[in-house]
Amino acid sequence: MSGAAVQAPLSWRRLKALVTKETRQLVRDKSNLMVGLFLPVVLILIFGYGLSFDVKNAPVAIVTEDTSPAAQDVVAGFYLSPYFSAIPLTSMQTARELMLKREVDAIVYLQSDFSRQLAAGHATVQVLVHGVDANRARVLQAFAQGAIGQWAVKRAAAGQSGSAPPITLQTRLWFNEANNSTHFLVPGLIVLIMTLNGALLTSLVMAREWERGTLESLFVTPVNTNEIIIAKLVPYFVVGLAGLTMCLLAGKFLFHVPIRGSLLLIIFISMVYLLVSLSLGLLISAATKNQFLASQIALVVSFLPALMLSGFIFDLNSVPAVVRGISRVLPPTYYVEALQTLFLAGDVSGLLIKDCAVLVTAAVVLIALTRRNTRKVLG
C-alpha cells in the first residue's frame, strides 16, 4: 500500500500554519541566519576582494648591468606599470636570493653589453618568472612581454628601428580585455551562494525533525507530505532570494560587473536553480535523517561540485573528459553557464533555453524524490 494513494489535496490553512512555524524556527535559530545571510556577505567580500586572478604590484627585480639610457628605457615600463613593483638591483646574485626567498616574483635581467647587442640588432632581455604558481607566472610573463613590447612599439614609432622587435617572448595566455577576473567571478559567486543557501540550510531541516522526534507527532495530524515539503521550501526560498539580491547589488555597485543580458532572466533562472538546490538539500535530509551526515553529504555533493566542477574556477574545456562528463550531469554547471552568458555576453537564447530546461527538470526530479522519501511512516 503506497502512502500516496490516500493523500487529501493540499490545505492552504495547514500550509500557512507550517510555513509560519518554519519561518519562526528559521528566524530564531541564529546559526541558520548566519549561514543564510551573513555567509553570503563574507563570501562576496572574500571572493570579490581576496580571490582574484589578477596580478597587481607584483614585486620584480630589475637587474641592469648596463647603465646606458637605452637600457634604462627598456625597463622604464616596469617602473611605471601598475602591475609591477620594480626593485632596481645591480647584481644578479642578490636578485637570485630574493627570488629564492620569494620576495620577488620575477627578475628582468639586462646584461652589461645590452646597448652593444641592441646596436647590433639582436639584444636579449632575460625574464625569469617564479613558476610555482603557474597561473600567476603566465600572467607575469605576459605582462613582461607587454611592458617590453610597448618599448619596442615606441622605439619603432620613433623610427629608431626598422627591424623586428629585438626581444622575443612567447605568450600563451589571453585575458579579458579589462584584465579583471572579478567580472568572471561574480556570476560564479552567485552560484556558490545559491548552492550554499539552498542545500546546506535545507539539509538540516528535515533531519532535525527526525532527530528531535517532532515528525512523529506531526505525522499523526491531518497534515500531508506535500504540505510538509512545501512548507520547508518556502522560507528558505525567501532567504535564498535575499542572498541573490545581495550578490546582484554587490556585483553592480561594488565590483561594477556589467549585466549585458536581461536582469529578469537572471532572477528567473536563479529562482529555478534555488529550487534545485533547496530540494537537493531536502532530499539529502529526508534520506539520511541525521543532521551531521546530511550536512556533510550536502557539502560534498552540492557545494564542492559547484565550486570545482561547474566551470566557475576551472574551465571545463581544459579538464579531462571524465570530469567534464561528470560536470555535465550537475545542475550548477548549467547555472554557471547561463549566468556567465547573461552577465558578460547577453541574451543568447538557444543556450539559455537549454540551461533552463535542464534546471527545471532537475528541480522536478529532486522534489519528486524528496516526496518519495518523506512518507508518513516510521522505520
Partner: protein
C-alpha cells in the same frame, strides 16, 4: 463521528517484525489480539521490549502490520492511515514539541493543523491552560520548560480539539510525582466528563490500576487482559507484608527474600517488605513474620510473568564482591556544608548541608528543577560550588578534584558509553581510563561481565543493545575501579519493574560490602530502598532522614500519610504554599 458498537480499536493476530540486520529479524509483535473500548482508559503494560510502543504506532498508522488486521475507529489501519490520523491524537514517548517555538505557538500550530476554528479555540484554550497551569508561561519557548511542563504542553497539543481517540506512549517517564499526578488528573477528568477514549502505555503499575482495562504484553504476546482487579486478584493469597524478626533494614530483608526460589517478588514498603510468595503460606521462610495483604496490580503482574514466562525478578543480580574487612559504617564519606550554586541570578542550590556515611544508600528526591542534578554534579566534581565546602571521600573538591574522582564512580542519566564500539571494548576503554592494566584489568572486566550478565553480548555494538542492557553496562563500567562511592542519576528512569528490581538488588549487595551509593529517582517507592533520603525543591532542602522519618514528618500535618509518594507530595506542596504565602505578604 458515529462509531459502531463500543469498540474503538480491534486488533487481531497482529504481527510486526523489524530487520535487525540482513539475516536476522526481531519479532516485536507476535500475534497480538486486543480491544480498546470507547469512553474508557485502556493501559498497555509489560516489561521493556514487550511491544507497547510498536502497538501504539500501528494504531496511529505510523507503521504497517506484517500480518493480522487492525481496525481503529472502524477504519482499516493498513489502508486508511490518513483518515485515522485525522481523527486521533497521539503523544509519542518523546513528544515532538518545537523547542524554538513558544508554548502558545506550539498550541497554535497543532490547532491550525487540526483545523480548529477561532471560536473553538476561545472555548478550548482557557480550559487547557487551566488544566495544565501553563498560562503564565505562554510566551516561554518550549525548550525552556521543565520536563514535567513539557509533558503537559505535549498533552495540551494533543488536546487542542476533542480527538475520537487519544494515544499516550509512556507519558510520565522522567516526570516527577507532582507533575505525574497533575497529568493523570487531566486525563481522568477528560475520560469521566467527556467520555474520551484513551490508550496509554506505562511502566507505572499504579497508573495502570486507574485504567478500566489492562492489556499485559510480554515479548510481543498478550499475557492477560481484563479489568485491573482480574489481574491483581491472581495474586490473592500470595501477597504478604513481611516484617523481619531480626534487627535488619527493610532493604536487607527485601534482598534476603527476593533471592529465594519460593519468593516471586519482594519490594520494601513503609519500612517493611511487600512480598509475593509462590505458596499461599510463608512457613518455609525463617526470621520474618508474614501478614496477608490485599494484592496489587504489580503483585498480579509479577505472578503472571513468573508463571507464564518463568521471569524471576532480580534473579542472579546479587553482585559477588571480594570479602573485605567489615567497613566502618560510622565513617563520613561525603560532607557538604552550606553549599550554594548560582547560575547568574538564579540560585539552583541554596545553603545545603548533609553528610553521608560509608555503605549508606542515600537518595536525592525532588520535582523537576529542584536542584538534584546540580547537587549531583557538584558532588561528582563536575561543577564547582559557588560557596560552601564539599568533602568527598576525604578530598576537598575545591583543591583535590582529581583525588576525589579516583574514589567515585558516576552513572549519568543519559547513556554515556560509546555506542559504536562493542561491550568488551567499552569495558576495556573504561578500565584504561581508570588506570587499570594487564591482569588486574582483565580480572575486573571478567568480574563485570559475570556480575552484570554481559558475557553473551560481549561482541555486540553497544548502541544497538536494548536499554536495560545498556544500563547494566553503564553501571558495570562505573564500578570497574571499585570506587568507594557510586553516583547514579535517575538510573531507573524508563525501566520496567523487573529491571528495577534487578538494579536495586545490585545496589543492595554493593552497599552491604561498604560501597556508598548516592542515587536520584522519580519512583517514590524506590526511596524505600534507601537508608536515608533528602527532599529538595527549588534548590532548598525540605527534609532529610530515613524513609520512616520523612514519612512521619509529612504525617504530622493534617492527615496521615501511607506511601512515600504521598509524603513527598505533602512535603513539597507545604513548602510551596509557604513560599507563596511569604511572597504574598
Amino acid at each position: 463521528m458515529t462509531v459502531t458498537g463500543g469498540v474503538a480499536i480491534v486488533g487481531s493476530g497482529l504481527v510486526k517484525r523489524f530487520a535487525r540486520d540482513k539475516k536476522e529479524s526481531i519479532t516485536a509483535l507476535d500475534g497480538v489480539s486486543f480491544e480498546a473500548r470507547h469512553g474508557e482508559l485502556t493501559a498497555l503494560v509489560g516489561p521493556d521490549g514487550a511491544g507497547k510502543t510498536t502497538l501504539l504506532r500501528l494504531v496511529a498508522g505510523l507503521m504497517r502490520t506484517d500480518e493480522g488486521t487492525l481496525r481503529v475507529l472502524d477504519l482499516d489501519a493498513a489502508t486508511q492511515p490518513q483518515e485515522i490520523q485525522n481523527r486521533i491524537s497521539y503523544m509519542p514517548q518523546r513528544f515532538g514539541l518545537y523547542e524554538d517555538l513558544s508554548v502558545q505557538e506550539n498550541l497554535d500550530l497543532y490547532a491550525d493543523l487540526h483545523g480548529v476554528s477561532v471560536e473553538q479555540r476561545q472555548e478550548r484554550y482557557p480550559r487547557l491552560m487551566e488544566m495544565t497551569a501553563l498560562a503564565p508561561f505562554r510566551e516561554r519557548l518550549a525548550g525552556k520548560l521543565s520536563g514535567g511542563m513539557k509533558q503537559k504542553l505535549g498533552l495540551a497539543c494533543t488536546l487542542v480539539r476533542s480527538p475520537d481517540l487519544l494515544l499516550l506512549d509512556e507519558p510520565t517517564v522522567g516526570v516527577d510525582p507532582l507533575s505525574r499526578r497533575e497529568l493523570w488528573e487531566i486525563v481522568s477528568s477528560l475520560v469521566e466528563n467527556e467520555g474520551l477514549s484513551v490508550v496509554v502505555s506505562t511502566s507505572y503499575m499504579d497508573e495502570a490500576e486507574r485504567c478500566a482495562h489492562v492489556v499485559v504484553l510480554h515479548e510481543g504476546k498478550v499475557l492477560a487482559d481484563g479489568v485491573p482487579s482480574s489481574i491483581s486478584s491472581r495474586a490473592r493469597g500470595h501477597s504478604f507484608i513481611a516484617t523481619s524478626t531480626q534487627n535488619e533494614s527493610a532493604r536487607a530483608l527485601q534482598a534476603r527474600l527476593i533471592d529465594r526460589e519460593d519468593v516471586i517478588d519482594a519490594v520494601p514498603q513503609g519500612g517493611r517488605v511487600r512480598a509475593v510468595l509462590r505458596a499461599e503460606s510463608a512457613q518455609s521462610i525463617p526470621e520474618a513474620t508474614f501478614e496477608p495483604a490485599e494484592p496489587t496490580l504489580e503483585d498480579g503482574l509479577m505472578l503472571l510473568l513468573r508463571q507464564q514466562t518463568n521471569a524471576k525478578p532480580a534473579a542472579g543480580a546479587a553482585i559477588e564482591l571480594a570479602d573485605k574487612p567489615a567497613p566502618d559504617r560510622e565513617q563520613v564519606v561525603i560532607e557538604t556544608h552550606d553549599v550554594v550554586r548560582k547560575f547568574g541570578d538564579f540560585t539552583a542550590v541554596n545553603r545545603t548541608s548533609f553528610e553521608v556515611r560509608r555503605g549508606e544508600v542515600f537518595g536525592l528526591l525532588g520535582p523537576n528543577g529542584a536542584g538534584k542534578t546540580t547537587t549531583f554534579r557538584m558532588l561528582c566534581g563536575l561543577l564547582p560550588a559557588t560557596s560552601g565546602t564539599l568533602l568527598v571521600a576525604g578530598a576537598d573538591l575545591r583543591t583535590a578534584r582529581a583525588e576525589a574522582r579516583q574514589n567515585i564512580g558516576y552513572v549519568a542519566q543519559k547513556f554515556s558509553l560509546y555506542g559504536d564500539i562493542t561491550v568488551r571494548e567499552n569495558l576495556d576503554f573504561f578500565a584504561g581510563a581508570y588506570g587499570l592494566r594487564g591482569a588486574r584489568a582483565n580480572e575486573r572486566i571478567d568480574w563485570a561481565m559475570d556480575n552484570f550478565e554481559l558475557s553473551n553480548r560481549a561482541g555486540a555494538a553497544t548502541g544497538k543493545l536494548p536499554g536495560g542492557f545498556q544500563r547494566r553496562l553503564a553501571m558495570a563500567a562505573a564500578l570497574l575501579h571499585e570506587p568507594q562511592i557510586v553516583f547514579l542519576d535517575e538510573p531507573t528512569s524508563g525501566a520496567d519493574p523487573l529491571a528495577r528490581r534487578e538494579f536495586w538488588r545490585r545496589i543492595s549487595s554493593l552497599a552491604d560490602h561498604g560501597t556508598t551509593i548516592v542515587v536520584t529517582t522519580h519512583f517514590m517507592e524506590e526511596a524505600e530502598y534507601c537508608d536515608r533520603i533528602m527532599i529538595q525543591d527549588a534548590g532548598t532542602m525540605l527534609a532529610i532522614g530515613t524513609p520512616d522519618e520523612v514519612r512521619q514528618q509529612a504525617a504530622d500535618e493534617s492527615h496521615p500519610v501511607a506511601t512515600m509518594e504521598e509524603a513527598f507530595i505533602a512535603i513539597v506542596e507545604k513548602s510551596r504554599d509557604q513560599v507563596r504565602a511569604k511572597d504574598a505578604a
